[in-house]
Each structure stands twice: as C-alpha cells, then as structure tokens.
C-alpha cells in the first residue's frame, strides 16, 4: 500500500511500563486523508499506541514524526503548535466537569488563540451544531447530559481547533446502538466535511466497517516472539475478512465474514457538514 503524504509516522517505537513491554519496535504510518482503525484484543497496546502518537505518553525509544518532522527535534512552542493540528476524542469524553458545555468547547480556543469572545461563541455554536447538538445545552454541566451527548460534545471540543488529524479512543464503547451509529456517522462526516485524517481505536467491528479505510491489527507483545512484528495485519476490510491468520480469525470470528458481504451504508452529508437523514 502506498503511504505518501504522511501525517503521523512511528518508527521502531517501544513503550514499557516498568519491566512490561507494551509496544516493541512498532512501525506505523498514517497517510493524510485516510481513516485507520486500530484493532486488537485488550492489552495489545492500541490505546497506548494512540497516546504515544498524540504524545500524551512518551515512548521509551523510537521515533515519532508529526507531518514529516521528528517530535523530539521540535521546540516546545513548535510542538505545542503542531499538536493543535491533532484532535483527540477520549473514551469517556473527558469533559471538564467544573465547566459548562460552552466553556468545554471554548477551552482550546481560549487557551491558544487571542480571538474575540464573539468569534469563540460562533465557533462553539457551529461545532455543536455539526455534531447535532442545539444551543440549549450550552449552559449545562457535563453531568447533566447523556453519555452519547458527552461524546458528541467531546468531538465538538476537539473539532473547535480545526484539527487535521483526529484520534478516536473507543468512540462507541458504552453507548447504545443508536448512539453508536450516530457517533460512527459523525466520524464519517468529519472526514467528508473537513478532510480530517482519522485514527480510531475500537473493539467494535461495526464501527470499523462503517468508517475505516484501512485496518491495523495489533497483537499483545507478551504472546509474540521477540523477532515478530506486533502489527499482525495492515490492510483493507476485505483483506481482513478473507485473512487465514488464526490470530485474526480468532479476533473477528464470523461477524466480519457475514457483514462484509453486505456493504454498510455510509451517511450522506449536506454541504454544511451535518449528517443528512
């Protein structure tokens, strides 16, 4: 697969917690505009990989590049500016519970830009509207809205800074099927409307089917020999579904075989970026 125009690239990355090897010589390259799903059983290092990519965790060794430049060679200010091109939707939304919904979405804008409050307000309301939330909730606290709405506010907050790459950490975990589908649609709409590169960590194969262009499957380091790569699969959905690798077959079971024969309908977008229908 041709990997030109790289946005995020990790080379020989190792990450250890104490003596436990979570990532070992991991290599991964994310191209601009694609949506990559990282899958694998619990404990294989999916979330750690994403946090290392975002530099929320530091790797023990190896190289990470953002937009073609080694992160370690960046000045703190440059790193901070580059990081603003990366958005992150946390598994539990991670909304600031002492702030209102409005303040949550406005947080990044207030911290990083010297823009007027009117401009911030316009951006906040636009982003909330894009994720299907009305202005009525802006004065509520995160605890006063549902889990699905919290995820959408989290997405609006990440999008407020206009990222080029979005990380989604288990975006549909803990949500009912309706809200899961809504979040999937939003991930797709974010890509279509803003051309955002997406990296999704998920266990939900339906989400993978609905939004991913490319799938990367990781395997726990503890179950591999030293010379084996931790990436046991890197390809398309069809290639995943037709793989004979027993580790992949064990993970996906029969679900993907059946489902992949029926193309999942992806949401159509209006010009505003909102999801139609």
């Amino acid at each position: 697969m041709n990997r030109t125009n790289s946005t995020i690239e990790i080379q020989d990355v190792c990450c250890m917690f104490g003596s436990q090897k979570v990532l070992w010589n991991l290599n991964l390259n994310i191209s601009a505009g694609e949506t990559v799903a990282i899958v694998g059983e619990s404990g294989c290092g999916k979330s750690v990989t994403m946090k290392v990519m975002m530099q929320l965790l530091s790797q023990t060794s190896g190289t990470l590049q953002w937009f073609g430049k080694d992160v370690r060679l960046m000045t703190p200010d440059e790193r901070r500016r580059q990081r603003l091109k990366l958005g992150y939707l946390f598994q539990g939304a991670a909304l600031f519970d002492s702030l209102t919904i409005y303040e949550n979405v406005a947080f990044g804008l207030r911290q990083n830009n010297e823009v007027s409050e009117n401009s911030i307000r316009e951006t906040v309301l636009t982003r909330l509207s894009e994720v299907g939330l009305s202005a009525d909730i802006v004065n509520k606290r995160p605890s006063e809205i549902s889990g699905g709405m919290q995820k959408r506010v989290g997405l609006a907050r990440a999008l407020a800074l206009g990222p080029e790459v979005m990380f989604y950490d288990e975006p549909t975990t803990g949500l009912d099927p309706v809200n899961s589908r809504r979040i999937d649609d939003l991930i797709h709409s974010v890509k279509e409307a803003h051309g955002v590169t997406g990296i999704i960590v998920t266990h939900d194969l339906r989400t993978v089917q609905r939004v991913a262009d490319r799938i990367v499957m990781l395997y726990p380091r503890s179950k591999l020999a030293d010379e084996d790569s931790q990436v046991v699969f890197d390809g398309t959905l069809d290639e995943l579904a037709s793989s004979d690798d027993p580790r992949i077959r064990e993970y996906i079971g029969d679900e993907l075989h059946v489902s992949s024969q029926h193309q999942v309908k992806r949401p159509q977008l209006e010009n505003t970026g909102r999801i139609a229908g």
Binding site: R83, G87, G92, F96, Q111
Partner: protein, 280 residues
C-alpha cells in the same frame, strides 16, 4: 534466617529509595511549576474560583481553629502562671505562642486537610478520567493551567488565613481570660504588646508562606500522580494530608531555627532583655 535478616534491610532500602525518589519527584514537579509560571500567570476566570475555594470557603474552618486554640491556651497556661503569680501575663504567652507557632502550624494543618486533600482528590479525579490528558490534547499545559493557580492561591491566602486565625485566637484568649479567668483586660493587652514584637508576627507569616507552598505542591503532585480508580484518588487525598503534615512540622522546625538564629544575630541584646522582662 537469611530471609528474616534481609527483609528489614530490604524494607529499609526500599523506603529510603522511595523517600529520595519522592523528594526528587517533588523537586522536578516544583521546577515544572516554576517554568509554567514563567510562561505567564493564570487568567482571571481560572484563578478567581480557586481563590474563592481556598480563601473564602476556608474562613469558617480557620475561625473555629483560631477560637479554640486561643481559649485552650488560656486554660492550659493559667494554672501554671498562677502558681508563679504571673497570671496577669497570660496575654503575652497566648499572643506570642499564637503568632509565632500555634497559629501558623494549626491553621496550615487544618488547611492541608481542607484545601490540600480537596486539591489532591480533584486533580486525581481529573487524572483518572483523562481530563488532565484532555488539557494537553487541547494545547494547554496541565501544570500551568491546574497547578500554578492553586499554588498562587495557597501562597497568598494561607498567610492571610493564618493572620485571621491568629487574630481570632488572641481575641478568644482575651475574652476567656477576662470573662472566665478574671484576668485584668488592660494587663492582657499591655503584656501582649510588651512581649510580642513585629518580628514574631512576621516570622509566623513567613512560616505560613512556606507552609502554603508545601501544601500546594504536595497536594497537586499527589493528584497528578495518583493511582487508578477511586482507590487511587482516595489514597492521593490521604497521602497529600499526611505528607503535608510532615512537611509542615519539618519546615516549622527548620524555619524556627533559622529565624531565631537570624533574630539573635541582628539583635544580640534581645535574649537578655527578654529574660529581664519576664522576671520583672
């Protein structure tokens, strides 16, 4: 046999290592905070709620603490002073003890419990729910956003709260001595004024500045490095109080030695004057 001998040695070694690692971690955390302060002071809408939480909401606790310290001091010292026929000097001992020692230490201890533990629990909860990571992900520095305003609030308001505790304690001691123990009100204030110098007041407030620093840094660091889940948050809050209390006692000892030495270096005649004054 080897096991029984090696176990205590191992334990001592481990505890020593943990102590120095913790101390080093605290130093690194303090430097990160100072670096954060260099990048800019917190915005008004960030620091005002924290000032309110640390300052205004701590006033009742400080009032109660100060009141009871003053009255207990009066009760405890009255009998001893009466045996030496020095009960009229109660104002001196109560005021001196409160402004230079008990006021700062007990106010700081109460605030380590009320403010420090709350900070550790709040930051710990933010950490386990990934809110701290979210701040980083949104391009802000968590230390600058969360720690610096709390540090500034503690450093500025804990001395102020200590001054309130001292004042209330002195007033409560006076009221109790005058109304219950029958001490002459004029004597109470006269001896208080005679024996307590500006240096004592300043020394007490200097101590409280250091206690404020210690409480804020320890509480924020415990919160930032708390373990997973509710248990981790609970432990962070408890450890914050315990470590702060130890730091307050240790700092109190060090500062007392340093400040007393400084005082007698500047005013060598003060020692003999003080003894003469008490015996007069």
């Amino acid at each position: 046999m080897a096991t029984t001998i090696s176990n205590p040695i191992t334990t001592i070694g481990r505890l020593t290592q943990e102590f120095f690692c913790g101390f080093g971690g605290l130093a690194v955390f303090s430097l990160r905070m100072l670096a954060g302060m260099r990048r800019g002071l917190p915005k008004r809408h960030t620091i005002v709620p924290i000032l309110y939480e640390v300052g205004v909401r701590s006033v009742p606790v400080v009032l109660v603490t100060g009141t009871f310290i003053g009255m207990v001091m009066a009760v405890q010292t009255y009998n001893q002073f009466k045996m030496m026929h020095m009960e009229s000097r109660l104002g001196a001992i109560i005021t001196m003890t409160l402004v230079s020692e008990l006021g700062p230490v007990l106010a700081a201890t109460m605030l380590a419990g009320r403010v420090g533990s709350a900070m550790a629990a709040e930051l710990g909860t933010m950490r386990v729910t990934e809110q701290v990571h979210a701040i980083s992900a949104l391009g802000a520095d968590p230390v600058n956003y969360l720690v610096v305003p709390r540090f500034l609030a503690c450093v500025t308001l804990i001395p102020l709260l200590t001054a309130i505790a001292d004042s209330v304690g002195i007033l409560a001691g006076w009221l109790f001595s005058w109304q219950v123990l029958g001490i002459n009100s004029q004597h109470y204030w006269m001896y208080a004024e005679q024996f307590v110098t500006g240096w004592d007041v300043v020394a007490g407030l200097v101590k409280s500045v250091f206690f404020g620093c210690a409480i804020a840094i320890i509480a924020c660091r415990q919160g930032f490095h708390c373990g997973a889940g509710a248990e981790g948050v609970g432990r962070a809050a408890t450890q914050s109080f315990v470590y702060s209390f130890i730091a307050i006692l240790g700092l109190d000892f060090l500062l007392t030695v340093v400040l007393n030495t400084t005082y007698y270096l500047i005013w060598p005649q003060a020692m003999s004057l003080a003894v003469t004054g008490w015996c007069r």
